[in-house]
């Protein structure tokens, strides 16, 4: 027994090749299984209100009665102006942006006794100009000192590009109603923006004086913003439940307390159901929970703004959107009372929301997992690359690899060295160790290549964020071709020597892979703490890269065939092909996605693209180069 263990220890092939592969594979499998375990009751928790000051649903909401008459009056008034605009040929999408509508909103807010101001903005992204004018108004807290404020946002166009007439009207009615109350300890700011994508971004940027030159500064300000609520009500019938949208830009989330408050008030005080992540039929089964988590992760990973509330998150202002959904018997006044009650809760806050979680995955409106529970899964995925990288580094130092004895490690790691080979490998390895001992590493070429390819990622990053929108699909297709040609060219150049010095030796291939995986593991584990989902997704897509290396052993035709197939499979996982595949699967046009991504980069400050082009793509490219090198 002891001898066996000693044999194992003395077997460098086991130590440097098999063990890391096994460990890496285990990490990946455990990482994925870990995520799949999260929806179980044992690993998730019931939500709770952590900040006691919030007291959700402890106050009676009075928004009812004659306020509904006022609501209808405002609505008719705005409807009239919208119809006038339509008659004058204003496209329905721009309906809320006519000067007549804007001045009517201003006059309504002014008549209600609020301080009103406007802000013009203009953004250009992918050759498209987005412009509009925000109208906003402030209720000064009686006895308040402009130190803190709550924001209520209503956009003329909802996140799904519907006309949000009821939402805007509700905001105006609430403004008039809130003004009468003397209990506000914080200012309340009503922001009416033309659309959900750029309007709030322009406003919140200017509020913090971080706006670009194309956006006007705000003439009127209040204090530190404590929370924001976005009101959407884009249809005329009554609704059944409230859909709470909470994802922010770059996967940032609002404090869980805010979400919990909204859900608690809707469910318990108002008796309105609540949904999340577009899960209309949530039966609390394992599948439904997992699906909710995965949908949340997809949104978080892509990092785009899911509504007008998303722009608030980078400034550490917790925000959610309330979307009425379904056909039921709840009317706009019920939504108004819900908002009133949430505002009362926020008004109670003595400190900025900080008690509850900022990192969580929700699987049901009342169940979540916190970062401590889910983080290991992404960390394990990221760790697998680091393990591999360290193993390769050691291998290049101590064990020169064996062209004759060690079996080739193929792309997907299906073929495993038989146990017979392990036992027979012992004397050979002993000989090898005696022969080589410590090998000198030739670092120059691998380092240059890895750093160079990572810098090369800046080119597609720049291209995809600056090209006009009509060229974006073409460039995506072109990049699929580039992704096929570029690795082959690089592989050919490497194998036949760059004409610089000695031809490349196997050790350098290992070093290239080692550095590439080291960077990947480093970036992904850092990213996991910031944006768990993105790190997990990229980690999963990059998982094969751990097991790819240059094939050496079989004869050239076999080698070429295997590597050719591997090369094709790997190309299906390249960033542009993954994008095209997802677009084809979901039925969204490539142009829309890429234009949106460019808009996100320019306006929202989304950095998903940086991860894709400067972390994922270079790592993938190096994997392809290694596989391609087997063909030459």
């Amino acid at each position: 027994m002891l001898a066996k263990i000693r044999d194992l220890r003395n077997n460098p092939h086991l130590l440097f090749v098999r063990l890391p592969n096994l460990l890496s594979l285990t990490c990946i499998v455990v990482g994925v299984v870990w995520l799949l375990l999260l929806p179980l009751n044992e690993y998730s928790r019931q939500t709770y209100i952590s900040e006691n000051a919030l007291l959700p649903g402890q106050v009676h909401a009075y928004f009812s009665g004659s306020e509904q008459n006022v609501f209808r009056g405002y609505k008719k008034e705005l409807e009239g102006l919208l119809n006038e605009g339509r008659d004058q040929g204003v496209p329905p999408a721009e309906a809320g942006q006519t000067p007549a509508v804007s001045s009517k909103i201003q006059s309504i807010l002014q008549a209600a006794g609020l301080k009103v101001a406007t802000q013009k903005y203009e953004y250009t992204s992918a050759g498209i100009t987005h412009e509009g004018e925000n109208v906003y108004a402030i209720i000064h807290a009686p006895r308040g000192d402009a130190t803190e404020a709550i924001v209520l946002v209503a956009a003329w166009k909802t996140a799904n590009n519907e006309l949000n007439l009821n939402g805007v009207t509700l905001a105006l009615t609430l403004a008039r109603y809130f003004k009468r109350w003397s209990l506000w300890s914080k200012d309340i700011i009503f922001v009416i923006t033309p659309d959900s994508k750029s309007g709030t971004q322009a406003w919140i940027d200017a509020y913090h004086d971080m706006h670009p030159a194309s956006v006007q500064p705000l003439p009127l300000k209040s204090g530190a913003l404590q929370g924001a609520l976005v009101i959407e009500y884009p249809f005329d019938h009554r609704f059944q439940s409230l859909h709470v949208v909470y994802d922010g830009v770059n996967g940032q989330l609002p404090n869980l307390d805010l979400f919990n408050t909204a859900v608690a008030i809707a469910n318990n005080q108002m008796g309105i159901g609540s949904n999340l992540q577009e899960m209309w039929e949530h039966d609390d089964s394992y599948q439904a929970r997992l699906q909710t988590i995965l949908r949340g992760m997809a949104k978080q990973g892509l990092g785009y703004a899911t509504g007008a509330h998303s722009s608030f998150m980078p400034y550490h202002i917790d925000a959610i959107t309330l979307q009425p959904k379904g056909e039921g018997w709840e009317d706009e006044m019920a939504l108004g009372r819900t908002i009133e009650s949430i505002c009362r809760s926020l008004n109670n806050l003595l400190e900025h929301l900080h008690q509850s979680f900022f990192f969580y995955l929700l699987m049901q409106s009342n169940r979540f997992v916190s970062i401590g529970t889910y983080l290991p899964s992404a960390m394990l995925l990221a760790g697998n690359f680091t393990i591999m990288a360290i193993a390769l580094w050691m291998r290049t130092g101590y064990y020169t690899g064996t062209s004759s004895t060690a079996p080739a490690i193929a792309g997907d790691k299906k073929e495993k060295p038989s146990s017979k080979k392990v036992t027979s490998g012992k004397p050979v390895a002993d000989v090898k160790l005696k022969e080589s001992g410590v090998a000198e590493r030739q670092l120059a070429l691998p380092l240059t290549l890895v750093v160079g390819l990572h810098l090369l990622g800046l080119i597609p990053l720049w291209l995809f964020n600056t090209l006009p929108h009509q060229y974006l699909p073409t460039s995506a297709y072109a990049f699929v071709i580039v992704d096929i040609v570029l690795p082959l060219v690089l592989a050919a150049l490497l194998s036949h020597g760059l004409g610089l010095s000695a031809p490349i030796i196997p050790q350098q291939y290992h070093l290239i892979k080692s550095f590439s995986l080291l960077l990947l593991g480093l970036s992904l584990s850092t990213l996991a703490t910031l944006n768990f989902s993105l790190s997990f997704m990229v980690g999963l897509l990059c998982a094969p890269l751990s097991f790819i290396e240059r094939l050496q052993s079989p004869s050239k035709p076999v080698r070429s065939t295997i590597s050719g197939i591997g090369f094709l499979c790997l190309n299906l996982l390249s960033p542009p092909s993954a994008l095209l595949g997802v677009c084809w699967y979901t039925g969204v046009s490539v142009e829309t996605v890429l234009t949106q991504a460019a808009f996100g980069w320019d306006v929202w400050g989304v950095w998903t693209q940086v991860v894709v082009w400067c972390v994922w793509w270079p790592a993938w490219l190096i994997g392809c180069v290694l596989l391609g090198a087997s063909m030459f």
């Binding site: 006022v70 209808r72 402009a146 300000k221 003595l350």
Partner: protein
């Protein structure tokens, strides 16, 4: 020169004429309905006492409690302010008393202290704040060295001081202090009639602290008229802006429920107007109100201690157009003043007085003057490490420049980079230009902060050209505090005191000999600092304490414990000789006979 300021100035002039008397007491209430159904009520109480009787502690009108504190702390001139809310200059026009009787949000105190050196002055200042803290039930004792400044140019003594005095000006603010009824009660006690008679009977804590904006002030200053003896004057002011509609709500039903459908005022000209659809209409009538509705009680006569050399001295003045109908209690003498907007009432002693203004369509309005300067100060930027301060000064006048002193005190944990001070100017054309700071700032008085010892003090003598908006910005760094230095509500942010702006040489101050300068105060700010997750260190502390208590406790216990039998323990534990001997005896007896019992 506009009506409102002339109004304040005539009052100031009237006051100063009365100031010369050596020992007297006057009180007055000004009422001024403001737009948006607000009502400015300005109470003023003033008494003089001769310097000689003050020094001999012969107090008649002057409150003894305050007088003794001032004498003890060698304070020659004192200004104390309690303020909540913000003055809405856009709707309400210029501030009452030109801002000279209000403070920044919270508590503000400044005083001229007679001392031979800075250290002695500071020691007396601490004595003063500690004593006032007790007197006014406010946290004034928290004005320590980090919150104390010595402004160089921003404040000038309002009284007449003999030139020999070694006077030291010290200034402190508590922006986070919440002013409430516990500060009103001691304030009322300083008055000769103590809220039992006269205009001070209108003070009701519920109404006063329900005001949209409210300021209480105490000013003590020595006055030496050219002829006659020096007097010490104390002036107490309460200014408040009440929301008439809110104040009129009955006490037992204060909730602003939606009005019944039939009481909703709708625009019937709208085509869609119907029983269930209503576009609310602006009321064109001015709200009616009365003293008893707004303050919850009637004014109880005149304070009998009022010195009236003039029997017709009016104590209540109202500023509405002369054609406005006003009804008063019987026996009240009404005098209308020539400006067309002011009327004053002479009350009958010991008769309740009420003033009723019925609802009436608006015919003429009291014109509101534009403020001389608009100022706004905000914190910009985000993140836990750095930030920026942005101060916007708007000069609405088309013709004249505004010269003023901008004074701000910053806490030490906000570290400004003065070299990043930048100025931009925006004219009426809306074009923003960057200009050198020296074009705007004439003089700078800057005293940098010392960590945990004193805050930054910055005074800028500035001038804003006519019809332009000047924006000053500078960057700052946020210091990281020690974890014991955080207050319990660390995540709320830290209060930064409001900036004080004193307008120099304005047309208002130029016209009067009175040195009542124009002051503007910005709102206070909330500075978010990098805050640790406090639950974590506490969790760690709790966890380690538990581990130590369990682990160390048990091991220590085992190590030092001597295992002895029960009877030996009694012997060991006994202190007296007798007990020891007894213990021994017991031990011996047990040794002899103990076995037997055990076998049993």
């Amino acid at each position: 020169m506009t009506f409102f300021s002339r109004f304040s100035l005539t009052l100031l002039a009237l006051w100063s004429a009365l100031a010369a008397a050596s020992s007297d007491y006057h009180e007055r209430l000004f009422l001024h309905p403001l737009p948006q159904s607000s009502l400015l009520a300005s109470f003023n109480f003033r008494s003089n006492t001769s310097q000689q009787s003050f020094d001999n502690q012969h107090f008649r009108y002057f409150p003894r409690a305050l007088g003794q504190i001032l004498q003890h702390a060698h304070t020659k001139e004192l200004h104390l302010r309690f303020t909540t809310g913000r003055w809405d200059a856009e709707s309400w026009g210029p501030r009452p008393w030109n801002g000279s009787k209000e403070g920044g949000t919270g508590v503000e105190l400044w005083a001229w202290i007679d001392a031979s050196g800075d250290e002695e002055a500071f020691a007396k200042w601490i004595t003063l704040t500690q004593s006032l803290s007790g007197l006014f039930c406010a946290s004034l004792n928290f004005i320590d060295s980090t919150r104390t400044t010595r402004p160089v140019v921003s404040f000038e003594p309002a009284g007449d001081h003999p030139p020999t005095d070694g006077l030291h000006l010290l200034h402190g603010t508590l922006p986070g202090e919440v002013v409430c009824t516990e500060n009103l009660t001691p304030f009322l006690k300083l008055l000769p009639c103590k809220g039992k008679a006269g205009v001070s009977t209108l003070f009701d804590g519920h109404k006063l602290f329900d005001a949209a904006w409210q300021s209480m002030s105490v000013d003590v200053r020595p006055l030496c008229p050219p002829e006659g003896e020096c007097v010490v004057q104390i002036e107490q002011t309460v200014d408040m802006v009440l929301d008439i509609e809110r104040s009129k709500r009955p006490r037992d039903n204060p909730i602003p429920r939606p009005v019944p459908n039939d009481q909703l005022v709708c625009d019937t000209s709208k085509p869609y107007n119907s029983d269930d659809t209503c576009y609310p209409l602006e009321t064109t009538t001015e709200k009616g109100w009365s003293l008893s509705e707004v303050f919850g009680r009637k004014l109880n006569g005149v304070c009998p201690l009022t010195d009236s050399k003039d029997p017709n001295e009016s104590t209540v003045c109202l500023r509405v157009p002369h054609d406005r109908g006003v009804f008063t209690s019987e026996g009240t003498l009404e005098t209308k003043q020539a400006d067309g907007f002011t009327r004053c009432f002479t009350l009958k002693a010991s008769e309740p007085f009420d003033l009723v203004i019925p609802e009436q369509p608006v015919t003429s309005e009291v014109p509101l003057e534009e403020p001389i300067l608009n100022a706004e100060r905000t914190i910009v930027g985000h993140g836990a490490e750095r930030g920026g301060m942005r101060i916007i000064f708007g000069n609405p006048s088309d013709t004249s420049d505004v010269d003023f002193i901008f004074f701000e005190t910053l806490p030490w944990f906000l570290r400004p980079y003065i070299h990043t001070l930048r100025a931009t100017i925006t004219g009426r054309d809306g074009v923003r230009r960057e200009i050198p700071v020296s074009e705007i700032v004439k003089e700078t008085f800057y005293r940098p902060a010392i960590d945990r010892e004193r805050g930054t003090q910055l005074e800028l003598v500035m001038s804003v050209p006519a019809a332009s908006i000047v924006t000053l910005t500078y960057d700052f760094e946020k210091a990281i505090l020690r974890y014991t230095e955080y207050p319990p509500d660390a995540n709320r942010g830290f209060n930064v005191a409001p900036a004080v702006i004193r307008i120099l040489d304005s047309p208002h101050t130029r016209d009067t000999a009175q040195n009542a300068p124009v002051f503007i105060r910005s709102t206070s700010l909330l500075l978010p600092l990098p805050t640790p997750d406090f639950s974590m260190p506490y969790n760690v502390i709790i966890l380690t304490s538990t581990v130590i208590a369990l682990g160390f406790g048990t091991i220590f216990n085992i190590l030092v414990r001597r295992v002895v039998s029960a009877d030996e323990a009694a012997a060991l534990g006994a202190q007296t000789l007798k007990a020891r001997i007894l213990g021994r005896l017991v031990a011996i007896r047990d040794k002899l006979g103990g076995k037997g019992t055990k076998v049993e």
